[in-house]
Amino acid sequence: MVDLTRGYDVLVAGGGNAALCAAITARQAGCSVLLCEHAPRAFRGGNSRHTRNLRAMHEKPNSVLTDAYLEDEYWDDLKRVTGGNTDENLARMTIRASSGVFDFMQQCGVRFQPSLTGTLNLSRTNAFFLGGGKALVNAYYLAAERIGVDILYDTEVTALHMEDGVVRSASLTKNGYPETVSARCVVASAGGFQGNLQWMREYWGDAVDNFVIRGTPYNRGRILKNLLDQGVAPVGDPTQCHAVALDARAPKFDGGIATRLDSVPYSIVVNRDGDRFYDEGEDVWPKRYAIWGRLIAQQPDQIAFSLFDAKSVRLFMPSIYPAIKADSIEGVAAQLGLDAAKVARTVAEYNAASPGENFDGSKLDGCSTQGLTPPKTNWARKIDTPPYYGYPLRPGITFTYLGVRVNERAQVLMEDGRPAGNLFASGEIMAGNILGRGYLAGFGMTIGTVFGRIAGKEAAAHARN
């Protein structure tokens, strides 16, 4: 039975990968630790439960990673995806620390598996968790329970009460009832705010009604907002979020990875009015999938439709929802609720501009439309072989970029640049320090693990001082 009147050395707000790494590390250092997870046990683990791998630097092949992935290459990859919107010191420190996380993870019972089929491009850089992120989260919870971390589910940390840059106490909602707890140190690991539609609406207006949130509905950004309201320095553009194209039939929350659609490069994509709006063949899909969420979010009613024919149906990962299928493109359009004549005209114009040869789905084939606006610059094969197929697409929000500023000791920084006295942060709530834009597969888990470990260690050192 958890006794909230006793006071803890370390309070961890959140229950995902970063929170668990912080809690376990602080407990291993001898602190009493309370971890508060907003979700019920069945949905514990925040967005970590939907992840699958962690990007790690390594100098030589090891039990889970092939070849080598060195600091400079890793840094170049990060610089490229963020467009320089990062902090080189923090980033390089995270990259270097990523090579040392395996011992800790394996001690905690995290298991790995070979790179998943269809992700061979990641076998050198990313270590895959056996069974995915929920299995990783399960292992961490077991490890935390074993060493005596107190864990509360259905418990949201609603406010951290700060005075002069020091957290004096925390308010919780435990199973719906208000509670107060005191702790010498606090680690904020409560994620971003993409699960909070009201907050999202401030930036996106009513378009959020048509957004799908890929992850947990329990990431409400409550602690993030609470800290920013108390003079903590923000980092990252509040209006930005990572968004991909999803099957429009996906659940509003928590659909995870299985609802994404990879059909775009082998299809043409039209909007509500039956018009194409962007080059579907601009680059290989792993480099382009993350722009399509935003592209669709900018279309009327935030919806789009991927149309293709029998030649392409097996070129991409299957969706969990059946494709809309008909013997004519008009038939598909009608079933999707589109103006059939208009869509047929769009397809006819595209077919007329398609060279119709030299298609090669395995590389940038240069098979480009001629004289079409917008063009399709690769894989522009004619859509002419029945049956025809279509998928409805919506923007799927993965995470938000707004966070709290931290230093290399995971201390939360106040607006005047000084570190808060006893407040640390790890995970999505501070990822914007390093990942200010774009995304690099498996890097969120790297930031969470590295900063979770640092936050746990620093909080423990501070609490026991």
């Binding site: 069945a42 929920k134 299995a135 928590d254 995870g256 969990i320």
Partner: protein, 367 residues
């Protein structure tokens, strides 16, 4: 394979799993799934019989209940497997034995024991049945005439083998016969003997919860190898009798008795252990409806073995006659039920592993 509710559930889960694929490292099922886009009922029968029910994918699943997708692969596959046993059973009219299999197994066992006891009392004098026979060659036949043992044993066993083979052939045809080479046979044999797919990628099963454990794998090994040691004891006994002219009962340190005793103890450890695990296991990924059939078979195996050990202990006493009759009654029931109980899973699982080994030929292994 027929379309049923369980098949439809399994198909929906596989379509979701095929869009996720996080569980690829647990066992052979998910890589086999990835070779397919559509899942005909026969494909699901194949995948369900390939599944060893280690539960790894249930605890790792981001879509497991109470998620609205409600993915529960172990339960769905358990139900599809049970339906496949009924579907492939031979001769077809006896397939109904799988509908209330726990009851059927219990009744057949009771009836078999009763039959042997009735035969014994009808054919032999009470003196022979209750006398303390010295442990000398031929003592057992004083209780039950040798010809009855031989006829009943051989007829039921050969029929069981035929029925199992016909069921296996039905499975193989339905799920799409595959060309099989020697390499595939060796690989499948290793999979059967090692229970590689109960290893969760080498880490064990989720026997009770999120923790990984080798308990279930070791208990199944104890049961499996115990069963075959007992079978080896029977075979050596047959060789002794038929070719060497040595007649049972055999001395304590003879091959049939040692093999049978070790096998019997292993069989009891395995079956009782697996039964206990069913009692304490998490009901969420289990198919409650199938518990009766599972438990009935485990108990049948345990009691066959236990009565054999009791017979060994009592064989110099006046209780030997009844002990022998009861033991032979259990063996008769086991032979009769081989093709009409969960024992058939051994055939279909082995064939599914063979098919898997064959269809993976040419598919590159993950590095």
């Amino acid at each position: 394979m027929r379309e049923t509710e369980a098949v439809a559930d399994a198909r929906r889960y596989m379509e979701i799993c095929n869009g996720c694929r996080y569980c690829e490292g647990f066992c052979a099922v998910f890589p086999a799934m990835e070779l397919r886009r559509e899942f005909a009922a026969a494909d699901l029968s194949y995948l369900a019989n390939l599944c060893h029910n280690c539960m790894g994918c249930f605890y790792a699943c981001q879509y497991a209940p109470p998620h609205e997708f409600g993915v529960n692969v172990p339960r769905a596959f358990s139900l599809v497997r049970a339906e496949s046993y009924e579907q492939y059973a031979w001769p077809a009219p006896l397939a109904r034995a799988f509908q209330r299999n726990g009851v059927v197994v219990s009744l057949v066992a009771a009836a078999s024991i009763a039959l042997v006891l009735i035969l014994v009392t009808a054919l032999q004098s009470p003196e022979a049945l209750y006398a303390a026979h010295p442990v000398l060659p031929g003592a057992f036949y004083a209780v039950i005439p040798l010809w009855i043992m031989q006829v009943l044993g051989l007829v039921t066993f050969l029929f069981a083998l035929l029925a199992l083979a016909m069921g296996g052939a039905n499975f193989w045809r339905d799920t799409g016969a595959e060309r099989v080479g020697a390499g595939a046979v060796l690989r499948a044999l290793w999979d059967v003997l090692s229970l590689r797919n109960l290893g969760g990628g080498g880490h064990g099963c989720n026997d009770r919860d999120e923790r990984f454990s080798m308990t279930r794998r070791w208990l199944h090994h104890a049961m499996f190898y115990g069963f075959f040691l007992c079978f080896a004891a029977t075979c050596t006994g047959f060789v002794y009798h038929a070719f060497l002219g040595w007649h049972a009962p055999y001395p304590l340190l003879s091959a049939p008795v040692v093999l049978g005793t070790v096998g019997g103890v292993l069989l009891i450890v395995g079956t009782v252990g697996l039964f206990a695990m069913k009692l304490i296991g998490d009901p969420a990924p289990a198919a409650r409806r199938l518990l009766g059939a599972d438990v009935a078979l485990l108990m049948l195996l345990a009691l066959t073995s236990l009565t054999g050990l009791v017979l060994l202990a009592l064989r110099g006493t006046g209780a030997m006659g009844i002990a022998l009759a009861v033991h032979l009654g259990f063996i008769l029931a086991l032979f009769l039920l081989l093709p009409y109980s969960k024992m058939v899973h051994g055939v279909y699982r082995s064939l599914a592993l063979l098919r898997n080994a064959a269809e993976r030929r040419g598919v590159p292994e993950n590095p």
